[in-house]
Symmetry: C2
């Protein structure tokens, strides 16, 4: 369990859907050793393990939501042995995994309709197979459109400080055979100004009931630039990323990460030292996410379909349907 | 001369005012060896040298404007020996240098009135003593306000790809005793959203007659974010950066620089290798500047005073005054 928890904390596993799935399996690993204890003791321990995962990273809702769901399944089962509870938890983790895989496929299908042949698409951070349990959210849409034979050119923001765009998105798209050009985050507005972009596609870490969307730092600025250039800005995320209990984005906790992510670029390979990019002693503010107000979002692509504004209504509808399916 | 030219090209000397001054001295160095030639041959050679500097970097107007001015002084002097022409050119280079120093002082004085005690100020790239011939443009304003006893907190964008903000601005402000916090470029909109910023101050590389302003890549996105948050966005630049012959920013040539600036972070010190930040073979688009439309600029701070929109009128007025002074 510690290995999974640490991997999520250190971003070895990252991306809202991926950490939701990993967290569910992590809960299973965390309670395995108590399979021979009485049910009450097992449930107590399960609660502590779930709590640890809920607190691992604050912004993406998928992680606490997964932990909640795992705990609820165990508590609601009425099973009379820890062994059975453990089996139920493993089944539930697999179910979360499969749901996220299926959601990726469905989002890709719905989202690809928004992308036309010849389109330039700008994206931020990494939202592909390395961030999800399937082919991806925003990147899944791009790859699906490409596989449908549409000619697409992607502009990938490098995504400082951790360069998920440069390191992961460019790699995934090159491997998929999609035309991709890497740009600095700060070049996005210029690239839009030059008429190279027909749509902006991003993922999400948490979506409030009104559509306000937390995503990787830089997303809000992209949305403002897209708005100024009248370019549609789409969020692609499974309904598991929606947090209907939050009225607006104001309530979303924003993770602030270590200064060294900004001031030191880690070396790769053995014996390679990192490179400092700022003077010793420099103060740094490193919020890992920002919140894009709903009014800058043209639509939210989910596995249940494409949600249109006003999002209060469309999100409420889709969450009700999801709830009814589950019960 | 080659040393100066190469230093400008490689950005060892950078910042629009600084390269204007360096270019003027570079022209002097370039024609020194022909001081014993006939006047006509000297002027021919001067034209070639000036042309080299005009072509060294395209976006900042200060460099070609300096070269033009040096050539005009020589041609208009009527001097009958190359030796005298050379002396006149050196005097003119010193005059450009002194004018830029004086302009920094005057801009700082005018601009500091816009900054209040307790203000948060966001800036981009480097616009201090390392980019100008004096205390700086935008940074000169900040340091002047600080020296006047105003408590100011500066948020410095790191400014990818070459990190002038992280490496130079943070250093200059720390040395000047100004509170400064380094942020990723993509965090600027979030920092505004959190209410930390009362004004955005940037420099300029070329300002068209309508106020459209070319500056370091990322400036346009900042201006859009400032606009969305109703935060005043100020350009601080000497009138030498204004190009009254250009009707709008559309005519400003945008320098596109090497992909390696984005994909490799150079090592520092001996024996330290650079670190690749993107897969081998990745396509890169690396425009070094963008153009901020005049309507997002609250005011332009020059050495002649603070210009207000509509900038067609205020720029026209200040350039006429400048022209009358010069003749």
């Amino acid at each position: 369990m510690d290995a999974v928890w640490n991997a999520i904390r250190a971003l070895s596993i990252r991306g809202a859907p991926a950490i939701g799935v990993a967290g569910a399996y992590g809960v299973v690993l965390g309670v395995q050793a108590t399979r021979d204890r009485p049910v009450a003791a097992f449930l107590d321990h399960l609660h502590k393990v779930a709590d640890r995962f809920r607190a691992c990273r604050p912004t993406a809702v998928n992680l606490p939501a997964s932990a909640d769901r795992m705990e609820a399944v165990a508590r609601g089962s009425g099973a009379d042995s820890a062994e059975i509870l453990l089996s139920l938890l493993l089944l539930e983790a697999r179910k979360i995994h499969e749901e996220e895989q299926a959601a990726c496929k469905a989002m890709a299908r719905h989202g690809a309709k928004l992308i036309e042949n010849g389109h330039g698409v700008l994206t931020h951070c990494n939202t592909g197979g390395l961030a999800t349990a399937g082919k991806g959210t925003a990147l899944g849409v791009v790859i699906e459109a490409h596989e449908q034979g549409k000619r697409i050119h992607v502009y990938a923001d490098e995504t400082r400080p951790l360069l998920q765009g440069a390191r992961l998105t460019v790699l995934e798209l090159m491997r998929a055979g999609v035309d991709v050009t890497l740009i600095c985050d700060s070049a996005a507005a210029r690239v839009m100004h030059e008429g190279r972009v027909n749509a902006v596609l991003v993922g999400a870490d948490r979506i409030a009931a009104n559509g306000d969307t937390a995503n990787k730092i830089g997303t809000q600025g992209l949305a403002l630039a897209a708005h100024a250039h009248d370019i549609p800005f789409y969020v692609v995320a499974p309904t598991s990323t929606i947090d209907p209990d939050l009225e607006s984005g104001q309530g979303i906790p924003i993770e602030v990460r270590a200064p060294e992510e900004v001031t030191v670029l880690p070396g790769t390979g053995s014996g390679k030292n990192g490179i400092r990019t700022a003077p010793e002693g420099a103060q740094v503010y490193n919020p890992a996410f920002d919140v894009t107000p709903w009014r800058y979002i043209r639509a939210i692509v989910t596995e249940k379909g494409v949600l249109q504004p006003p999002f209060e209504d469309s999100i409420c509808g889709v969450m009700r349907a999801r709830h009814e399916e589950a019960t």
